[in-house]
């Protein structure tokens, strides 16, 4: 295919920015930078593999890169959660997102002339908001975004079978560019945005000479190694320490 340089440059930049963002999001999901990169590589390769699930009455396939791998990460995150309440919140968020997609797809405008926001963004934002309200957690947001869309595909499949509508369900069929992954990414970004805004409205991170270089790392270190904290922050007022500790707790 002949393409002018501008088109090629746009393609390359678009892909770099998209996967760059995805990598920043994934490394917040209990993955290291390297694991997040490997994960993206696996999603891209997996985009080319569709696993048939059933043929009758409707055709159902699962794409490895667009549904299987991200769903596996989401489920792994649920199992790795520190407490049962967190698990319940993540599962609850996923179900609520599926309900939001189901309601939204029924009642939101669907003609190009009438739609007001890209469905990918609507459901990503809905997932981020629902998961943040349910658990104030980025991981819950990711789980809600990914599993919510996968569940909504199951709902779609059941709808087709019940109503006898011919069709097919290709879960995650668009691979790395599927709404499953985009909703997960948008959900985390939105949760991050409202989370940071809320924290800022509450007074913001502690500023001044004793502010840790990164709040999240600090909160984790604090929980793991209280002694180190004492060495670093001996001059801190006790009140300020409690404040930091509390805020750190919410950063799941």
């Amino acid at each position: 295919m002949s393409m002018p340089l501008g088109m090629i440059a746009l393609l390359v930049i678009g892909i770099l920015v998209y996967f760059g963002l995805a990598q920043r999001i994934l490394d917040r999901m209990r993955l290291t930078d390297k694991q997040a990169l490997l994960f993206i590589g696996a999603m891209i390769v997996g985009s080319f593999i569709d696993i048939p699930v059933m043929r009758e009455p409707i055709e159902v396939t699962i794409n490895v890169g667009g549904a299987l791998i991200p769903a596996a990460l989401a489920i792994w995150l649920i199992f790795k959660a520190d407490e049962t309440a967190e698990r319940v919140r993540a599962v609850l968020a996923s179900i609520l997102v599926a309900v939001a997609v189901w309601l939204g797809s029924r009642y939101l405008p669907y003609e190009p002339e009438n739609m007001f926001l890209d469905p990918k963004l609507i459901y990503g934002i809905a997932a981020g908001l629902i998961a943040y309200l349910a658990g104030r957690s980025r991981r819950s947001s990711f789980i809600g975004g990914v599993l919510g869309i996968v569940l909504s595909d199951v709902v779609h499949m059941v709808t087709l079978i019940n109503a006898g509508i011919p069709g097919r369900t290709a879960m995650g069929g668009a691979g790395a560019f599927d709404v499953t992954i985009i909703a997960g990414i948008v959900a985390v970004m939105f949760a991050e945005l409202i989370g940071e805004t809320r924290e800022k409205l509450q007074g913001g991170p502690v500023l001044g000479p004793h502010r840790p270089e990164g709040l999240y790392e600090f909160s984790e270190e604090l929980a793991k190694n209280p002694n180190r904290n004492k060495q670093q922050n001996t001059k801190d007022a006790p009140q300020a320490q409690t404040q930091k500790f509390n805020r750190g707790d919410k950063n799941e």
Binding site: M1, S2, P4, L5, G6, M7, I8, A9, L10, L11, G14, V17, R28, K34, L37, S47, F48, G66, L92, L96, A100, G104, S105, Y107, L108, P109, Y110, E111, P112, E113, N114, M115, F116, D118, P119, I122, A126, L129, L133, R139, S152, H156, P166, G167, A170, G173, A174, F177, V179, E192, L193, E196, K200, G204, P205, R211, E213, G214, E217, E220
Partner: protein, 383 residues
């Protein structure tokens, strides 16, 4: 209790998000767009919004500024000079010479992918009703397009995938169809629809044939929207030259990208309305097939659109190309979004700068440096 409030707020959000809830499509209501003097300039399916734009058949661009009932008042923005989008000899340059062998390879042949996001869309006079789940009359229009392309030596890749029901998620389901079509490396991708307006809006007689006109739809807020806009203008320019009056206009819709971000030559076509006959729509799309080779660059000597220069990044005469504008938007949003997030999460310019420095110095140390065992790198446990 908290969870209950969360549930309540989530349902409120969903309700708030659906101001245009369950709009009936086939009640005969449609929007008429009028200019400052009250002249009708455009008619389209319903619910246009303030800020929507359209380019009319005679290449005037309007933006909707006020809506009263079914009449949308639009502001005249300017004439679009389509001559710069016509294919002609590309300017010679070092880059062009470098790319020339590659562009020459694409002469002749070519593949065009065709699919239908709204697989139920049908034509009342021919199909009996406006919607047939899974078996819309629109498939016949797609087939007519495929046959006309085949006659021109272009290989059609037609997907009969169904995306019903006709709802808000249809584009996300058809996104999967587009992805699978793109794996077969098409040169262009068309999503074929039909509109929902009275018949006279699309009715036309071209070369003595009764046909329906075609509307191009561009997702105004897609990631690559500006580049797709260029592509739409190129199609309109070629169509105006080949079959004047065939392309009714270009509608710039605000509600999504319609999967046009997946391929640089993606276009959504509305072929007639449910009130036109399917046969007229089939003839209209067959005429449209005459335009495709020149748009794909096969009729001209080069695959490069003139006006955007040999590199496709733009020229001093025509300004930056759509692709260059889209790159600007993507990078601009990245910088603004990243900056806003840094400021929000740190609380000050100084802190934001420090965090950025920490990000560039420690974040990449992990995957560019050697693997550390035993003692954990503090940035590893970042959550």
């Amino acid at each position: 209790m908290n969870r209950f409030i969360a549930l309540l707020m989530a349902s409120l959000l969903i309700l708030a998000m659906s101001p245009a809830m369950a709009s009936e499509r086939y009640d005969g209501v449609f929007f008429t767009i009028v200019d400052e003097n009250g002249n009708v300039v455009y008619m389209t399916g319903r619910h246009v919004k303030i800020g929507d734009q359209c380019i009319t058949e005679n290449n005037k661009r309007f933006e909707i500024i006020r809506i009263e009932g079914d009449t949308a008042h639009a502001k005249y923005i300017g004439d679009v000079n389509l001559s710069q989008y016509l294919p002609k000899e590309a300017q010679n340059g070092i880059l062009y010479a470098f790319l020339a062998p590659k562009t020459a390879k694409a002469q002749g042949g070519g593949r065009v992918a065709i699919y239908h996001t709204h697989s139920d869309e049908s034509y009342v006079p021919s199909d009996g009703k406006e919607s047939k789940l899974g078996a819309g009359g629109i498939y016949d229009v797609g087939k007519s397009f495929a046959n006309a392309l085949k006659a021109k030596g272009i290989e059609p890749l037609i997907s009969e995938a169904k995306h019903d029901p006709h709802d808000d998620m249809a584009y996300e389901r058809s996104r999967r169809t587009v992805a699978s079509l793109i794996k077969q490396k098409p040169d262009a991708v068309f999503d074929i629809h039909r509109d929902a307006v009275p018949p006279q809006v699309y009715k036309a007689n071209i070369n003595g044939q009764d046909v329906t006109k075609i509307q191009l739809v561009v997702g105004k807020y897609g990631a690559t929207a500006k580049q797709i806009e260029d592509y739409a203008l190129k199609i309109k320019a070629a169509a105006d030259q080949k079959h004047p009056g065939l392309v009714k206009g270009i509608f710039f819709a605000k509600g999504g990208d319609y999967n046009q971000d997946l391929h640089p030559r993606s276009m959504l076509l509305e072929v007639g309305a449910h009130t036109n006959t399917k046969e007229a729509a089939e003839r209209g799309i067959a005429l449209f097939a005459d335009v495709v080779p020149s748009v794909l660059g096969q009729a001209s000597q080069s695959g490069t659109p003139s006006g955007t220069g040999a590199t496709g990044m733009g020229t001093t005469q025509s300004g930056p190309s759509g692709a260059a504008k889209s790159i600007g938007w993507i990078l601009g949003l990245l910088v603004v979004g990243g900056g806003a997030f840094l400021l929000l999460s740190t609380g000050g310019l100084k802190e934001a700068g420090a965090k950025l420095k920490q990000f560039t110095s420690t974040e990449f140390a992990n995957f560019l440096g050697r693997i550390k065992r035993g003692k954990k790198n503090p940035s590893d446990g970042r959550e």
